[in-house]
Structures are given as C-alpha cells and as structure tokens.
C-alpha cells in the first residue's frame, strides 16, 4: 500500500491531506505534528481570541479535522520530525520511530524570530504563533496589567496592539523601520497604519529599535529602546517576523535558502512536495520571482495544490505550475486591511481616500501592468483586484473597474 507522510499538521498540511483524499488517494496517510493539538486556525489568535475570553477553542479547529476520522489519517501529534533521509525515503521522529514513505509533504511552517536577550521569551515576555502562546498571552492580558509594550509593528505586532487597546490597556508599539508593515506595504500605507493606531490611543514609536528587555527582578519592567528611552510595561510582546522551520532537514539533500526551495510545481525533490510558510518557489505569475508567502490563503491554496501535485508525481501525471496571486487580510480595530497581489513601483488611489481610511490603492510595475491593490474596508474590490492581477490587466483597466 502506498504511504504518504505529511510533516507539519497545520493549515497547509491539512489542506494537502484533504486534497489527496478528495482526489481518491486511499493509501496510508500519516500526519506528523509537533504541537499536541489537532490542526487549528491561527488568525483569530491575535484578534478575537485575545480580546474575548469567550472565544471557544473548539471553534478554532480546522474544519476537515473537527471529525479526525474524515481524513482517515494516522495521527502522530506532539511528535516532531528530527531528520529526513531522502535517499532512503525515511523520516525520523523524535522518539526514534522511522517512517518510510512513498510520497512526502513538508509543511512545517515557521516560528517567531526571537530577540537574543529574550530567547526563549519568559516571565512577562511573549511571542505569538501557537495556541499555547495565545493562551499564555491572553492570561497575562487578563491578569490586570496596565501597560503593554509591543516590539515589532508587523501584522502580528499591530494586531496584538489593537487587541490590547480593545481590552483598555495602555499600549506602546515600537518598530525600527520608518513605518509599520514595511516588509509588505509602501511607506505611506504603512504610516496610515501608524495613524490608525495613534488615533486609537497607541503610543507608536518608529525608527527606533529595542536594545534590551528591562528587568530588575524576575518579572519584566519593560523595554529599553536604542535611543536610551525606557518603555515601562508589565507585558512585553515580541513580533519581529518568523523563521521557516527547516533545521530538521539539514542532513537531507533538499536545498534550503530561507525556506525549502522547490520548483514551480512545489516539488522539492522526487516524491517530495512543500507548501505553506516553509516553502519557497518561483511564481511564474510574477516573472518567476522567488516567493515565500506567510499568509493564510496561500497555505490553503498551496497545500491543496501540493497534495494533487504529489499524487501526480506518484502516478506519472502532469500538472500546471503553481502561479497564484497572493491575498491576505489583517483586522485592526474596525478596519479590514487587504492586499491582493504585491506592491509595485507605481501606485495610485483609485477609490476613497487614505484620510477616510476606506480606499483602494492599486500598484503597478514600470510598464503599467497591475501588480496588486491595497484595500481598506473595501473587501469586494480586493477580490476583484486579485482577479485583475491574475488576468494580467493594466493599471488603466484596473482604475476603471475598481473606481
């Protein structure tokens, strides 16, 4: 019987498993996940889960695993893959078990990057990736602190800041860059995010790094910034990006370069596909640009694709390349911020205005081809824009259609 092993039992891995079962795969399926939990959804963890003590953890469960029998998988939860021998087709787990496979899906995702002076984060310093992280942070926020300091104004940091404000806590948000979200948005759009937070009472400090964690006793007193100032806080949250989980592959022949490098069909080696936050591949839709996308929808899309891709590899079928137009959302206060595609060197607001915080801003490359659109409280346009990017439309066409 054919055995497929999925390492990383979260969004991308679950989606791959489901896609393979749907496509008729009736062999043995083994799901290996380092966390003790059945797969769950991460986006609520920085949003409703932190604000509302009533959010039921059962609701976070990913749909296909609410009934674990649906996938008819052999679950190895709370177990970590520690090595891959891709010549012999064997995955080794932390308890010594050797899992042989005919096909392998790698979806080990990413983990938070840490500050050297808070590695691991303890005693009042938090990071946020897992349900266990979220439980700990929510408990700390509920324990009656008055001040929260957030290091890093990426999506996680910005959402945690918003959630802490919604709980009525004093919040300072610090980022070394000149604008929040500088890795994904243009500076002006990032500054609009800073203004949004300031209007909600967050003390936003930009262009200044965190030099140290301030602690006199066992508990944290706050953060020391690179300009020498001190931000006092009982709770410190670090959200400075993520690192792909690839260390366990060091003895394999796979190519690792800030993620596992795959071809344009998500194949990293014969019989091995990759998906989700851990995967890097050349996206033909953007001229073969090497991408590693840390977004929910991509994990779903790529997971499903990778599952079908693996079945095709096993029975010699052919597949089209994986060429999605990425799309993500972030909820902060009452704003839904969505980016379809990617930012480009040209940009133009085609509907609404940044000042009223309800707008559509399109991006294009030097030739005027549409590369993406940023939408604030314009959900429908975000999805339309995504299609326009996929269709290879120009900025001119997008201006008319999205206005």
């Amino acid at each position: 019987m054919t055995t497929i092993v999925v390492v990383g039992a979260s969004l991308a891995g679950t989606q791959a498993a489901q896609a393979m079962r749907r496509a008729g795969f009736d062999g043995r399926l083994v799901m290996v996940g380092a966390e003790p939990h059945y797969p769950y959804d991460r986006p609520p963890l920085s949003k409703s889960y932190l604000v509302d003590a009533e959010v039921d953890e059962e609701r976070l469960r990913l749909r296909p695993t609410v009934d674990p029998d649906v996938l008819a998988a052999d679950w190895r939860l709370g177990r970590r893959a520690v090595a891959l021998d891709d010549q012999r087709s064997v995955v080794e787990l932390d308890d010594g078990e050797q899992l042989g496979y005919d096909g392998l899906v790698i979806a080990t995702g990413a983990r938070p990057r840490r500050l050297p002076m808070a590695d691991p984060p303890t005693d009042g310093v938090f990071e946020l990736r897992t349900l266990d992280d979220a439980r700990a942070l929510r408990a700390a926020l509920a324990a009656g602190p008055t001040r929260v300091a957030v290091c890093g104004a990426g999506f996680i940091g910005a959402e945690v800041a918003a959630s802490a404000r919604e709980r009525g806590l004093e919040v300072t948000l610090v980022d070394a860059a000149d604008a929040p979200l500088d890795r994904v948005l243009d500076t002006e759009a990032g500054l609009a995010v800073a203004d949004l937070h300031r209007d909600h009472g967050v003390d936003v400090r930009l262009g200044v790094g965190v030099a140290d964690i301030d602690r006199s006793g066992p508990r944290v007193d706050g953060m020391v910034l690179s300009d020498g100032s001190i931000v006092a806080a009982e709770v410190v949250v670090v959200g400075i990006g993520v690192v792909p989980n690839t260390e366990w592959l060091s003895s394999s022949t796979l190519t690792i370069d800030d993620g596992i490098v795959a071809d344009e069909t998500c194949l990293a080696a014969p019989g091995i596909v990759v998906a989700g936050d851990v995967a890097r591949w050349p996206n033909p839709r953007f001229g073969g640009r090497s991408m590693r996308v840390e977004q929910w929808d991509n994990a779903i899309d790529m997971g499903g694709y990778a599952g079908r891709r693996l079945l095709a590899a096993l029975d010699g079928g052919r597949v089209e390349p994986f060429e999605p137009t990425p799309w993500f959302w972030s909820d902060q206060y009452d704003r839904k911020i969505q980016l379809a595609g990617v930012v480009g060197e040209r940009r133009e607001v085609v509907q609404g205005s940044v000042a009223e915080r309800r707008f559509v801003q399109i991006y294009g490359d030097g030739t005027g081809r549409l590369t993406g659109a940023l939408c604030w409280n314009r959900p429908r346009q975000a999805i339309m824009a995504r299609q326009l990017v996929t269709d290879g439309e120009t900025m001119d066409a997008a201006r008319t259609k999205l206005a």
């Binding site: 489901q18 779903i300 499903g304 959302w329 839904k336 959900p379 429908r380 999805i383």
Partner: protein, 63 residues
C-alpha cells in the same frame, strides 16, 4: 445541498463570491447575500471550495 452562512462570523471579504458568484454576492453595502440557497449539482464543487476557502469558516453546507 443547502448553503448556510453564519453571518456573525462572515466579514464580507467576498472570497466565496470570487469562487461561486452564482451563489454568493457581496453588494455595495458590504453585506453578503446568498443568491441561491439550494445550488444545483453543477455548482456543488464550487460551493465546497468556497466552504474551504472562507477565512472565517462561516459557510457550511447541509448535504
């Protein structure tokens, strides 16, 4: 197949509309409308995809 949307969860991001415009529509008022609660068999695959891709897990189907 009957399509059910939990409007307390739905955030009108129109992901479902992109997949199955015959069934889901987000209008200018930013609310989602289910155009067809009992889509025919030719739409079932699309609706199932919408169930999977809804980021809020707001859509369910009763077979």
């Amino acid at each position: 197949m009957k399509v059910v949307v939990d409007f307390d969860l739905c955030e009108s991001n129109a992901v479902c509309m992109a997949i199955a415009p015959e069934v889901f529509e987000v209008r200018d008022d930013d609310f989602l409308y289910v155009l067809n609660e009992h889509p025919g068999p030719e739409l079932h695959d699309k609706v199932r995809e919408a169930v999977e891709r809804c980021p809020k897990q707001a859509i369910s189907v009763v077979e």
